[in-house]
């Protein structure tokens, strides 16, 4: 059965891997995520070898539509983030989930 991991599970792994307190392990997980977020917000690409690449793209404004009502709604220009998984991640996910 599939489950959902959270920050807590990642801190628990860090706690088991290195001899730090649970509290400090949690702070380190937070710190990794916030450094990555800050770099992305600054417009940088975050490239983690053998994991994947997070990048920020600018999209121009367009007219969207409410799929339920069909009403037109303007979508302003915005920045979006995309994640491109590494080959290693793709292979491990494909292999691990083979039926």
């Amino acid at each position: 059965m599939s489950k959902t991991l959270t920050r807590m599970d990642l801190s628990e792994s860090v706690f088991r891997e290195v001899g730090l307190s649970r509290n400090e392990s949690a702070q380190l997980v937070e710190s990794v995520l916030s450094h990555m977020s800050d770099a992305l917000v600054a417009g940088e690409t975050v490239k983690i070898s053998s994991f994947g690449t997070f990048s920020v793209r600018s999209k121009s404004a367009r007219v969207g539509r409410n799929p339920k009502t069909g009403d037109e709604a303007p979508i302003p220009a915005r920045r979006v983030m995309t994640f491109r998984p590494s080959h290693l991640m793709k292979d491990r996910v494909a292999d691990g989930n083979k039926s």
């Binding site: 599939s2 489950k3 992305l40 920045r79 983030m81 996910v93 989930n97």
Partner: protein, 93 residues
């Protein structure tokens, strides 16, 4: 930013930790995320985003060079959805 720069930033914030421990910490986090997805699990990091696995059905593909039809098996692919907080931060002034 690349992995080594991320490690350096964490090391600078935590002068009491050995560099090699910081490396292990950062590597553990990414490794755990891949491990979870390889088991079909989801990883939800509120504010940042969520990693999940999507199933792609088997289909008939085409060799773009020869135009020949080739069967493509069902497969599972990693997927990431940006979290609300980060999405909003990307569009602040």
């Amino acid at each position: 930013m690349i992995r080594s720069e991320l490690i350096q930033k964490i090391a600078d914030d935590n002068p009491h930790l050995y560099q090699r421990d910081v490396e292990r910490i950062v590597n553990t986090i990414f490794e755990e995320i891949i491990d979870a997805m390889a088991k079909g699990d989801r990883v939800e990091l509120r504010g940042f985003g969520a990693f999940s696995v999507k199933k792609r059905d088997a289909r008939m593909g085409r060799n773009p060079r020869t135009g020949e039809s080739v069967p493509v098996e069902e497969k599972h692919v990693p997927f990431f959805k940006t979290g609300k907080l980060l999405r909003d931060r990307l569009n602040e002034e």
